[in-house]
């Protein structure tokens, strides 16, 4: 049984048919990426999985349990956490307070210090900036914070929406290195990315989304070799 199973979901914004039957499976311990251009429906897919949008048709199962009717705030307790698009940090709170909010769903506050240490080990930079107001962090640090905050909820499945957005190439590389590291500790990752090159370099498998439909699915290796993908998303002629 796959960890996450998305079966033929149709999502609408009012009358606009954004997702036209998207199906995705994510196995445990995998990194799966969803690539596609602007408006392909990547973020809509992620928002539907995380409960912020409701699919009009189709179901979503997480570890065998149907979650397409579960409100967004309950998913954290089931083990799914999202790193929102554009980072979505609490800009006026300090780094520490952001991380504390990330642990909101954790019933056992005694593990807090351990979780915090774990996260700081992954992002030593955040420890240095612990009491800084997070709105004053650089773009790369904000992305770190958003990821770290999500990890404070001890997720089994981490949904990441465009972590490379607005970052310098060198930072993108380091962000993706941490993604691999997070995955090694046993967290499954579903990654939505416009930057197909880096996404496919870290992922096990990938899906290509076009105007609300999956047009291609394969291992990341095969996708990198695919002629259509090379032309449209990797910039190789």
């Amino acid at each position: 049984m796959a960890m996450l199973e998305v079966n033929n979901i149709h999502t609408y914004y009012g009358n606009i048919h954004a997702l036209k039957g998207v199906s995705i499976t994510v196995e445990e311990k995998e990194i799966v990426t969803l690539i596609g251009g602007n408006g392909a429906g990547k973020t809509s897919t992620l928002r539907t999985i995380s409960g912020l949008l409701k699919p009009r048709l189709g179901d979503i199962y997480f570890e065998g349990e149907k979650i397409s009717d579960t409100p967004a705030h309950e998913l954290v307790y089931k083990g799914i956490t999202m790193v929102p698009e554009g980072r979505g940090i609490f800009a006026r709170l300090t780094v520490f307070e952001n991380l504390d909010m990330g642990a909101y769903s954790q019933p056992d506050r005694f593990t807090f210090d351990d979780d915090l240490d774990r996260v700081y080990q992954l992002f030593p930079r955040l420890k240095e900036r612990e009491k800084q107001v997070s709105g004053t962090l650089s773009g790369g640090e904000q992305q770190m914070l958003a990821t770290a905050r999500a990890l404070m909820a001890n997720p089994r499945l981490l949904l990441m929406d465009e972590p490379s957005m607005g970052l310098a190439p060198i930072l993108v590389e380091s962000v993706f290195e941490t993604i691999v590291e997070i995955n090694k500790t046993g967290t499954t990752i579903l990654l939505v990315e416009q930057n197909a090159t880096v996404a496919l370099s870290v992922a096990n498998r990938g899906y290509v989304l076009q105007t609300g439909e999956i047009v291609l699915k394969d291992s990341a290796e095969n996708l990198r070799k695919d002629e259509m993908v090379q032309k449209a998303y990797l910039g190789i002629e």
Binding site: L75, R92, F96, Y104, E130, K131, V133
Partner: protein, 520 residues
């Protein structure tokens, strides 16, 4: 340096213009009389007290000097520069104005035709009864000396405080070894703070004994506004939901208490204490009832809908249709007050009752603010969607904020109705909502001491200013505008909010707020 001078000039001209307006409206003579009486100076002219006027000018320039130096108090030189520039400008403005009217007066021009407050006598008063040159020079001198003094005093005070902050930090580092990071983030207040609270409490409890009947009543009104302010503070300040119809819950509290204890229009006449509880519950219930359909809206839409709700309640209690049940425009009379051990409450006892209610609510709010609930509200106020993603049920916590705020207003309403032994539609106008919201803004959003200061300024000051009579609202409006320019975050803001409004000046929370990350 250049910026400091610029800031000084800007502030100086604001102060200068305001002072000229005060003179033009004749307010200076009234104020000088009050101040003169305060220090027992004998009045020498019929239009005001010259000594009082000097004190007034000195106070104003002290204030101007200290606010001018606020932008940079890192060393005494920059404080001096701000002080000099601001006081020079105010001095020039006011002295030039007095010179002008003095000159016109000596040339026998009838200014009264154009400016009702200026005649020969009042000009003499502005010159302290001396010659033109002497009077102008004295004014200029007062502004210069006290402006600079204000700036330097403010610098000195801050320097002294900075020393204390460093001492505090050392203490924190020492304590750090003992407890975990989390415990420290939501740390208890140190003992010295509690002693301070104790003294404050003592003062609060003794004061009513020395107040006359009128002041007891006025302070009671202030207290009821503190109650409502604390409630709205939860809704607006903590949860970030703009509620413009807050008076509705006040009305529900007042009317529940009224209807259940008064002989008419409903012959129930239940005792006060159970009804007090019931009023709170009713208001909270109304909060939930309104909240369920409304709280899916955000920002401005929420504000409009709540505004409408407030008006609906007022129209309903005023309507002829419901008059047989709620009293209509006449309201409800002979509302029963509380009694304890057979003794009915009178003026002073009501004030104590209100003070006790305020204390309980402050404790409760403090507890909420530092609990999981408070953190959920904070996350929600920052970003609703992300808060959801963190596992926060936003609808639930919004309802909770709404119900809690409404309950506090209900309590305020019940006390209000019982104290006045009357309540009617006129007590529950939109102005109440606006007043409560203004007191939050003036005092400082999200801050409990801010609410108290705000209520005193907004409801207490007009009582004190009653001596000014006609000018009361004018002075009051002027003060509000002035404050928004000088201190937009409120008089006693929550540290976080102060930080938001002074972006760039401070990107780390003050040490007493955030106690983590100072690894030794």
């Amino acid at each position: 340096m250049k910026d400091l001078i610029k800031q000084g000039l800007r502030l100086g001209s604001i102060f200068g213009v305001v002072i000229i307006f005060l003179i033009l409206f004749g307010l200076t003579s009234t104020l000088s009389d009050i101040l003169g009486e305060f220090v027992n100076l004998e009045s020498r002219t019929r239009t005001g007290n010259p000594g009082g006027l000097m004190i007034l000018f000195a106070l104003l320039s002290l204030w101007a000097g200290s606010s001018a130096s606020a932008s940079d108090r890192s060393n005494w030189k920059s404080a001096l520069v701000s002080g000099v520039s601001v006081s020079l400008i105010i001095g020039l403005f006011v002295a030039a104005f007095i010179l002008l009217v003095g000159f016109l007066d000596s040339a026998d021009v009838e200014m009264r035709d154009y400016l009702a407050q200026l005649d020969h006598l009042s000009v003499q008063f502005l010159l302290y009864g001396r010659s033109l040159i002497a009077g102008v020079l004295i004014t200029f001198g007062i502004f210069l000396i006290f402006g600079i003094l204000g700036a330097l005093l403010a610098y000195w005070y801050e320097a002294k405080q900075a020393g204390e902050v460093i001492q505090k930090q050392v203490l924190v580092l020492k304590e750090k070894a003992l407890d975990s990071k989390l415990a420290k983030q939501y740390k208890e207040n140190p003992r010295s703070k509690w002693i301070g609270y104790g003294l404050l409490g003592l003062v609060v409890f003794i004061t009513p004994q020395f107040l006359g009947k009128y002041w007891n009543y006025a302070m009671g009104t202030v207290g009821i506004y503190v109650l409502m302010g604390l409630g709205l503070n939860i809704v607006v300040g903590l949860a970030g939901l703009l509620d413009l119809g807050y008076v509705a819950f006040f009305a529900i509290g007042a009317y529940t208490a009224g209807l259940l204890t008064a002989p008419a229009p409903l012959p129930l006449q239940i005792g006060f204490w159970p009804v007090l509880i019931f009023s709170i519950v009713m208001a909270a219930f109304a909060g939930i009832l309104l909240g369920i359909p409304v709280l899916r809206m955000r920002g401005d839409y929420l504000a409009i809908v709540t505004l409408g709700f407030g008006e609906i309640i007022r129209v309903l209690i005023r309507s002829d249709m419901l008059a047989p049940y709620v009293g209509g425009p006449q309201g409800i009379r002979d509302i029963a007050g509380p009694s304890l051990f057979g003794i009915a409450f009178s003026g002073k006892a009501y004030l104590y009752l209100i003070i006790i209610a305020i204390l309980l609510i402050i404790l409760f709010t403090n507890y909420l603010q530092n609990s999981k609930v408070g953190r959920a509200w904070m996350a929600m106020r920052e970003d609703e969607t992300v808060a959801q993603a963190m596992g926060i049920n936003t609808l639930y916590y919004k309802l909770m904020a709404f119900a809690t705020g409404a309950a506090f207003a209900g309590l305020g309403g019940a006390l209000f109705a019982a104290r006045n032994q009357y309540t009617g539609p006129a007590d529950h106008t939109l102005m109440v909502s606006i007043n409560v919201l203004s007191l939050l803004i003036v005092g400082g959003m999200g801050s409990i001491p801010g609410v108290i200061v705000g209520a005193f300024v907004l409801k207490g000051l007009p009582e004190i200013l009653r001596e000014l009579d006609l000018y009361r609202l004018l002075v009051f409006g002027g003060l509000l505008v002035f404050m928004m320019i000088i201190r937009p975050e409120g008089i006693w803001p929550a540290p976080r909010r102060r930080m938001e409004l002074h972006e760039g000046e401070l990107d780390v929370l003050p040490p007493e707020e955030s106690l983590v990350g100072k690894e030794g």
